[in-house]
């Protein structure tokens, strides 16, 4: 016999409040940090390179021979685009029934098209962030840094075998893991500075575990930086060494200095090695598809030589009333500067509204010699 008890009536109680919590990590630190520029050269991304060839010599001005003229050779570098798309589909019944919910706390069921579009944008941007590192350059993927930051091989249609300077610094350990040391990093930065016209690298990307190892290397010289409150100052001589060590670092500064300006540091760890002029950025997607231990690597780049270029979507067409141009967004952190997605409806063939988001973009490493990869480290 039923009674007015919770156990008998619980199935009839409404859920007054539900919260939607995503369990997916779609952060994109590298995409957020790099500058995004629209392509104005149409079919391909193109720029020109010069290599060493100019002649110069000590001469005998007393009737000696003239120096044979030789100039620095020029060659064109070109890259194509990766094309990235994500679909959006919400059935008619889901839209109608979701919109009809009148109970408080179910807003995530009332705006399903917006929800799906947001998730599709985040997923596409996440895939772009991953392919910045591992894009193969084929199958409509962009050519990633695994190909660009290498000491051998062709990048941007320029062969390293033809131009020996078209090579990045590359240092491994025969496929075996070894300990990360400050000496390895210093050697990488110094060698890149010797080879590159833009000088020392100022950015480095690595995964979280390597960032943890890196922080541990600085324990003896740690100079902590935090949110300085008004009137607060960091004592320089406290404990006989705080802030006075040879190698000084700052952890998680509010902004990161790049050649393109200051970038807000939101959603990722950063370590600024001040005395080396190097900022390490943590990105879980950092990976090298050209080495055995794919996640055990650190990419060194100069921010003046690395950027993202994208093909701007064509303008709104009159015959496509559902077409929009949307700003790319990162999970929870808002717009990624400048990257635009084309949003278009598919022709309806079922009781569902279907759309496609698409962007065409490419990571461009303009000076291969200004970059480096340190791999087989842990």
């Amino acid at each position: 016999m039923a009674t007015y008890s919770f156990s008998d009536l619980s199935a009839t109680y409404p859920q007054l409040y539900r919260e939607l919590r995503p369990q997916i990590q779609r952060k994109t630190p590298t995409a957020r940090l790099l500058p995004w520029k629209p392509v104005t050269t149409g079919q391909n991304i193109g720029w020109d390179l010069t290599f060493d060839g100019q002649s110069a010599a000590a001469v005998n001005p007393d009737g000696g021979n003239l120096v044979t003229a030789q100039a620095d050779p020029r060659t064109a570098a070109t890259l194509g685009f990766g094309a990235y798309s994500a679909p959006v589909k919400v059935t008619t019944k889901a839209q109608w029934t979701g919109a009809a919910i009148g109970v408080q706390g179910y807003d995530f069921l009332k705006n399903m098209l917006d929800q799906n579009t947001g998730e599709a944008l985040q997923k596409a941007v996440k895939l772009i962030n991953q392919h910045i590192y591992t894009g193969s350059g084929s199958s409509n993927q962009m050519t990633g840094l695994s190909t660009g930051v290498a000491a051998t091989g062709t990048y941007a249609n320029v062969a390293q075998s033809s131009y020996s300077n078209w090579a990045a610094y590359s240092a491994g350990n025969s496929g075996s893991l070894r300990s990360l040391t400050l000496a390895l990093i210093k050697k990488a930065a110094s060698t890149i500075a010797t080879n590159a016209p833009s000088g020392r690298p100022d950015l480095a990307f690595c995964t979280g575990p390597l960032m943890d190892t890196l922080e541990g290397l600085f324990d003896a010289y740690l100079h902590l930086y935090g949110q300085m409150k008004p009137g607060m100052s960091m004592p320089p001589f406290q404990n006989g060494g705080m802030g006075m060590g040879t190698d000084r670092i700052s952890l998680n500064p509010p902004t990161i200095d790049t050649a393109g300006g200051q970038i807000q540091r939101t959603g990722f760890r950063a370590l600024v090695w001040e005395s080396a002029g190097l900022t390490f950025v943590e990105d879980p997607d950092c990976s090298n598809s050209a080495v055995t231990n794919t996640a055990n690597c650190i990419f060194f780049v100069n921010s003046s030589a690395l950027e993202m270029q994208y093909l701007p979507p064509p303008g709104i067409q009159n015959y496509m009333p559902d077409q929009k141009i949307m700003q790319a967004v990162e999970q929870d952190l808002g717009p990624i500067a400048n990257l635009q997605f084309d949003f278009r409806a598919r022709g309806r063939t079922t009781f569902a509204d279907e759309f496609d988001l698409m962007a065409m973009t490419q990571v461009v490493l303009k000076d291969r010699a200004a970059s480096g990869i340190l791999f087989d480290v842990q």
Binding site: S138, G153, T154, S170, A171, G172, S174, T292, N293, T294
Partner: protein, 156 residues
């Protein structure tokens, strides 16, 4: 075509990691730096093994860049290569990929400089270094004990 040999765990030359700024310093300073670098090389550059997730039995997973792709879909076809402890992996994008077992050798395209090969796989030795290592091993092997009189073959 240049050939490189797997020099084993002891083949990394500390002098290649020698700080250049020490040129011209006093002998004692140079010696101290050499000892420090040798210690660092021994501790931080051992030939141990790749990440355990990449090894299944006696096979190692090939990096994606060097794998074949399905013609129609473009998907990567996973490939595994023979591997044993002590193998040296040489991965040169756009040129070659090889797993060199202990005692093995590999021919490398002459367009790749020795500096690049050794930067990626410091445990590979060129021909001269390999011969020197072999000579060193021969000299350090103990002499075989002389046979007892009753074991010696009678002379003709």
């Amino acid at each position: 075509m240049p050939t490189y040999w797997n020099g084993g765990p002891e083949s990394v030359d500390p002098k290649r990691f020698f700080p250049e700024w020490l040129d011209g310093e006093e002998d004692a300073v140079v010696k101290a730096a050499q000892d420090k670098v040798a210690d660092e090389v021994k501790r931080h550059h051992p030939l141990t093994s790749p990440h355990r997730d990449l090894i299944k039995g006696n096979k190692i997973k090939r990096p994606v860049m060097f794998c074949r792709r399905d013609e129609k879909t473009g998907d990567v076809i996973e490939q595994w290569d023979d591997w044993q402890r002590g193998s040296v992996i040489l991965a040169l994008p756009g040129v070659m990929y090889a797993v060199v077992p202990p005692g093995g050798s590999i021919n490398v395209d002459p367009t790749v400089s020795e500096k690049t090969v050794k930067a990626n796989a410091p445990h590979l030795l060129n021909e001269e270094e390999y011969r020197a290592q072999q000579e060193k091993h021969k000299r350090t092997e103990p002499d075989k004990p002389a046979k007892a009189k009753h074991e010696q073959k009678p002379s003709a």
